[in-house]
């Protein structure tokens, strides 16, 4: 069985060049590159914002930023990091690697794919524009409610809230388009012989991510739409005077918000076992167990949302239900952890940069998961809620579990994507600086939280000073070390030692059968999987 799988095979010679190439492209690798580049830029933007916040928190009292701006920076930092850094990075990998891994000529719906990307820059503009407008005396800056849009504050806020609402709409459309494309690609574009239970784990991770996006992103869109009508058209969804309820917003938001944390992580859980197996030179442990665990986590994640507002006042049976269902998630998650550890167990490991990140990731993300279990305890959460303990917890999951996972993926696939090896020494230095500075930034925050320091406040009591200073200094080291990452990526894209097709000795999977970099149209002949 051998046949050519792309119609426009020879046509790319008359494809537009320069800027027009990127604006109009329908090629999955071009689009993947745009997603990844955009993500990296927004990562730096979001990082810059939060360094302003950490600078303010270096000392008690108000020095650098006023409370209004402080609130705006925190909320926009979170929205930027979640929606325009982490999610696009995962989608970028999906675009680049899914067709290669499943032996497809391209993504299933290429023009839609282009739209999915090009919705993102306008969304990022909407998110950040209010800062600029405020400089010209228009409005009072960006959204200042935190990333959660809680009512009634968000009903009262200025035009920054409207900008954020529409930004979320565009981001939502982009996610839905991306998910449609990924689901269809996985269902319909696999190489002959690749049954679902032979899917690469990355495809499984993304498939469930896409299902979650389809189920929850529209709910977020509905919630912010009701917020918009409450703000401007006199409805009473979140206003008790008319029979509505501000807490309704929290339910709707977190019905999206909790699955969102898995949306951010499942793609990473998909490719991480592939990295671990590559550098342990040993097959992945427990493929089926991992697939079933991913399904279980995906299903459970939509029924646990209220653990984010235990303290808001709920009937006791509801508290118990949300506590136990949340804790139940740690069972399949533990299965995954054991599979990851068993994959490297007694393997002949080598520690190139991707593997350093991968092993560090298991440990740090493990801390994130375990502290989450603490938060899920209703009685304990009464003390920890809305403190720096929560902040530390979700940075272990989102920065270590999310961003550092993505970094492992970047180092793993960069040689395949660019055709050059990155600078290994710099990569290792980047890992150690990141890992150490990350821990120094966030471990103190656990203790600050336990001692009672509330989050989202620009000032604090004197006894918290030392730990905040450690955290701020480490945060700056963390931020600056990312410049090494940027430098390494750029120089790798420009040149360097030629990468072989297989790149890594222990690499398995169809993407390693193509040249590095792969041809413009990936599998013009679909491979047959046995």
């Amino acid at each position: 069985m051998s046949y050519s799988a792309t119609a426009s095979h020879d046509e790319h010679h008359d494809h537009p060049t320069g800027m027009m190439r990127w604006l109009t492209t329908t090629n999955h690798k071009d689009i993947g590159t745009m997603y990844l580049t955009f993500s990296l830029i927004m990562f730096l933007v979001g990082g810059f914002m939060i360094l302003c916040v950490r600078a303010e928190l270096f000392q008690p009292g108000l020095q650098l930023v006023q409370p209004e701006l402080f609130n705006q920076l925190i909320g926009v930092h979170a929205l930027v990091m979640i929606f325009t850094a982490l999610m696009p990075a995962a989608t970028g990998f999906a675009n680049w690697m899914l067709p290669l891994q499943i032996g497809a000529p391209d993504m299933a719906l290429p023009r839609l794919n282009n739209w999915g990307f090009w919705l993102l820059p306008p969304a990022a503009i909407l998110l950040t524009l209010p800062f600029t407008l405020a400089m010209f005396g228009i409005g009072d800056g960006a959204i200042a409610t935190g990333w959660t849009f809680y009512t009634p504050l968000s009903v009262q806020g200025g035009l920054g809230v409207d900008f954020a609402i529409f930004s979320v709409h565009l981001l939502g459309i982009s996610s839905v388009m991306g998910s449609i494309n990924i689901i269809v690609t996985i269902f319909n574009m696999r190489a002959p012989g690749m049954t679902m239970m032979k899917l690469p784990m990355f495809a499984w991770g993304w498939l469930i991510t896409a299902f979650l996006l389809i189920a929850t992103i529209p709910v977020l869109a509905g919630a912010v739409t009701m917020l918009l009508t409450d703000r401007h058209f006199g409805t009473h969804f979140f206003d008790a005077a008319g029979g509505g309820d501000p807490i309704l917003f929290q339910h709707l938001f977190w019905f999206f918000g909790h699955p969102e944390v898995y949306i951010l992580l499942l793609p990473v859980w998909g490719f991480m076992p592939q990295i671990l197996q590559t550098f342990s030179r040993k097959p992945m442990y427990g493929y089926k167990a991992q697939v079933y665990s991913l399904w279980a986590i995906g299903a459970l994640s939509v029924v646990v949302w209220a653990h984010h507002f235990f303290t808001v006042g709920m009937p006791v049976p509801a508290l118990l239900y949300f506590m136990y269902s949340t804790m139940a998630i740690s069972v399949p998650l533990a299965v995954l952890f054991f599979c990851w550890i068993a994959t490297i167990w007694r393997g002949s490991m080598s520690f190139e940069t991707p593997m350093l990140f991968a092993v560090g990731w298991i440990i740090l993300f493990g801390i994130g998961g375990l502290t989450g279990l603490v938060l899920a305890d209703v009685a304990a959460d009464a003390q920890y809620h809305h403190t720096y303990f929560v902040v530390a917890h979700f940075h272990y999951t989102l920065f270590a579990g999310g961003i550092m996972g993505i970094m492992a993926g970047v180092y793993y696939w960069l040689p395949k994507m660019t055709g050059h090896m990155y600078n290994e020494k710099l990569g290792k230095l980047h890992f150690w600086l990141t890992a150490i500075a990350f821990n120094l930034t966030f471990i103190p925050q656990f203790f600050l939280g336990l001692a009672g320091m509330p989050r989202r406040i620009p000032d604090y009591a004197l006894q918290f000073t030392e730990f905040n200073q450690i955290s701020t200094i480490a945060a700056f080291v963390l931020g600056l070390s990312q410049l090494l990452f940027v430098y390494n990526i750029i120089s790798c894209a420009r040149g360097g030692k030629k990468a072989t097709d297989k790149v890594w000795e222990g690499a398995e999977g169809l993407e390693w059968t193509l040249p590095s970099p792969p041809p413009y149209h990936s599998f013009t002949e679909q491979p047959v999987v046995k």
Partner: protein
Amino acid sequence: MATHTEGQYFVPTPSLYPFIISLGLLSMASGFILSLAHERHKDLGYLQGPGEWMMIVGAVAVIAMIFRWMGKVISESEGGMYKKWEDKSFRWGMIVFICSEVAFFAAFFGALFYMRVISVPEIAAFDPDYTMYKDFLGTWPSTGPGGLVLGTEYTPPANFSPMAAWGIPAINTLILLSSGVTVTWAHWGLLKNNRKQLVIGLFLTVLLGIIFLALQAYEYHHAYTELGLTLNAGAYGSTFFMLTGFHGFHVTLGTIMLIVILLRSIKGHFTPQHHFGFEGVAWYWHFVDVVWLGLFIFVYWL
């Protein structure tokens, strides 16, 4: 799935339409925000005019690009670019898209159930000595704010009355259900290659869709002028207009899509074997139909 032997997958050539649509949406969104900015920022009244212009320009760009994009899809389809393999992608894509729409409606239904079952009775049950919502009635449909709440004096509409289910809404239910029948009948015609049946069926479906929308518009007018039922009429008014309005918007889109399909059928597009365009729109229409049943039961009837 993995058994496509008819050859190459069609990857469309580069296209600028998606990018321009995104710019159009950016312009519409910022224009909308600026045109309303004076509500929170008294000094920004001067942005209303420019904001409205940005909305118009953005909307024109979006609509024009959707037309060009769909035109391109149609010409590719008629040019024989789409075979079984591509067809399957479109089918899966449409199914997933409709699932996302279901989730969208679920958010508004969720708000309705929450308010009816939880927040409205709860606010009414507050101890009168300690609440600022003294005049709040826990009955459904609630009329919305009444009396003095947090320093604002609210007067509920004097002649308030909810929308009766067994008038226009019941007729609308019949209309939509029949339109589901006519579109299926048209599909049978297409399968038998009976073009006349196809065109007549589609024409009837479009007609029913338009009648539905006209009745809905009349109902809104009636609600605003005679029933005191407005967007501002508390929980009931909010959910009523949000749910029926969002649904009406979908019927409008569905009707436009049906008109396109009708015109294509008249032109001789679609074959008994190859007509995803028709089926995608029919699926969408059935989906809108089913949502209406939910609306009729939970918004109008119960």
